[in-house]
Amino acid sequence: MSEHLPILQVVVPLLAGPLCLLLRHRLLVRGLATAVPLACLTIAGLLLHRVQQVGAISYHIGGWAPPLGIEYRIDLANAYVMVIVSAIAAVVMPFLPGHMGSAMVRRREHLFYAIFLLALAGLLGISATGDMFNAFVFLEIASLASYSLVALGRHRRALVAAYSYLIIGTIGGTFFLLGIGLMYQMTGTLNMVDLAHRLPEPMSPGTPGSRTVLVAFAFLAVGLSIKLAVFPLHQWLPRAYAHAPSAVSAFLAATSTKVSYYLLVRVVFSLFGAAYVFDALKLDRLLLPLSIVAMFAGSTAAIFQTDLKRLLAYSSVAQIGYMTLGVSLASVTGLTGGLVHLFNHALMKGGLFLAAACYGMRLRSSRIADLAGAGRLMPWTTAAFVTGGLALIGVPGTAGFVSKWYLVLAALEQGRWLVAVLVVASSLLAVAYVWRVVEVAYFADRDAGAHPIKEVPPLLLVPTWILIGATVYFGLRTELTAGVAEAAAGVLWESLR
């Protein structure tokens, strides 16, 4: 069976989703939905292990050889992403039943799990596939499932947030498809490896196809930037994360944008190549300022939020800025920084959103002002939030420090002192917004008239602390993440040629 691992990675959640519809029984569905992400994590772990030993694995769907057939191609970069995605899905799972907003959702829980597993299948499919059109199909599966997950939020405003997410997300998906279509027009292939081989010919300046390839790249880059919420295209993100159920926010914040980042990096480095994107197009001149603006604008906006989930969402906009900064530095070290941050940010933002979910369960609100007294009454949750906050700031000993270290290193490598200083300076803004929460939670007294609160059950504390503990663990054992990320960056950088 082990040669089938690449397809099992996607088919297991894809089959489990509709199976939820057939089972219907609450306990059976919950059991299935808990087991599947764990199975996915096992498969992803095995794949990562295998790829580290033997290099890229290719799986031919239907036995048709690429480039004609659809190929699933697992290398270090996407095995790394699939481990993150399935790990987060496994950890988030205990939160899903208890924390769903409306009674309508609780009555039809099996539908919710079906959608969640389809979202997981979509995200894993985008990562696993070596075929551009297949990637688009899975992007749509993941996106459509995410829209409906966001719509399940507690308040009616969740519907508006999901709707605006749907509109902007569909534009992003359409742009991506247009880019694929134009590339197909110029090369006659959809396979990523084959594209990497055939693109240089129409790409070279002066040939009649060079403009088409340029437009194709523009559509792909803008489409994926919308999905990734790169700075001026980020408007959908705070609304969607603020109104989605907290556990869904944790899952989406930790996986969805990460997979989009992987796909963007794959397109930029593996298909088009750094020489075209950075030397000929000079994308870094646009992306670098945008990333820095995102770091500052996102963090500044986060400082002024009154809602905890919205604060975390704006902080995500800033953190995505760090990841795209890694791309725009156009070096292996920079890309390593971006990929390390992809992993670390998934852990810390996932953990922080889960802590917000714990608060939401007891306080029945996500307003920061309502956190008063939570530091004393919910000590474990608040401690988790503080630790996650320290990681966001990038305090040494946490995972956030490792990513920023690599980014600063990459900036200094190119003598860009200003960029390095700005990375550090923007971290100070993170101190401000994390402190706002800490101040209310520890130093404000709870109103006498407010309803009593107590710590959440261990079933919810354990997953939160797994993620928060991991940010500390990977902050101390840096060779685990940085080692894999560095090798993955090397694989991506070499392109598929």
């Binding site: 509709p18 519809l21 799986y59 239907g62 308040h155």
Partner: protein
Amino acid sequence: MKQPRLLREEVILRVVSKALVPLILLFALYVQFHGDFGPGGGFQAGVIFAAGMILYGLIFGLANLQRVWPPRRVELGIGLGVMLYAGVGVATMVRGGRFLAYGALDPHHPVHGQHLGILLVELGVGITVASTLIAIFYALGRVPPEPRG
């Protein structure tokens, strides 16, 4: 003032649709199972099948349609079709081929296996597409629930 009449009280609509619905369903089945020889396939067949059902629902009312296709059965259909598709893929893997390598379904006559595989996969597509479209029709025709929060 004239009262607005129900569609089922319109003689022409009622008689014509009663005659058309079976033909539409038959045509859907033709498109479904002739799909491997001529134009057609599961998606188109599913849409045509659902169109026949939705026509019936528009003329004779949602309640009558739901007696034929209870919402729960429609929900099952959505899942069943996908399961059938992916199940064929799993079956090919169990029989030693790659995922969806239909030839593995019948090792002695790979061509027969290919026929069977594509037939089942397209049937899965047809079931899911028809069920999904009917489910969308039900969702639009439903009385909206009480507003949330």
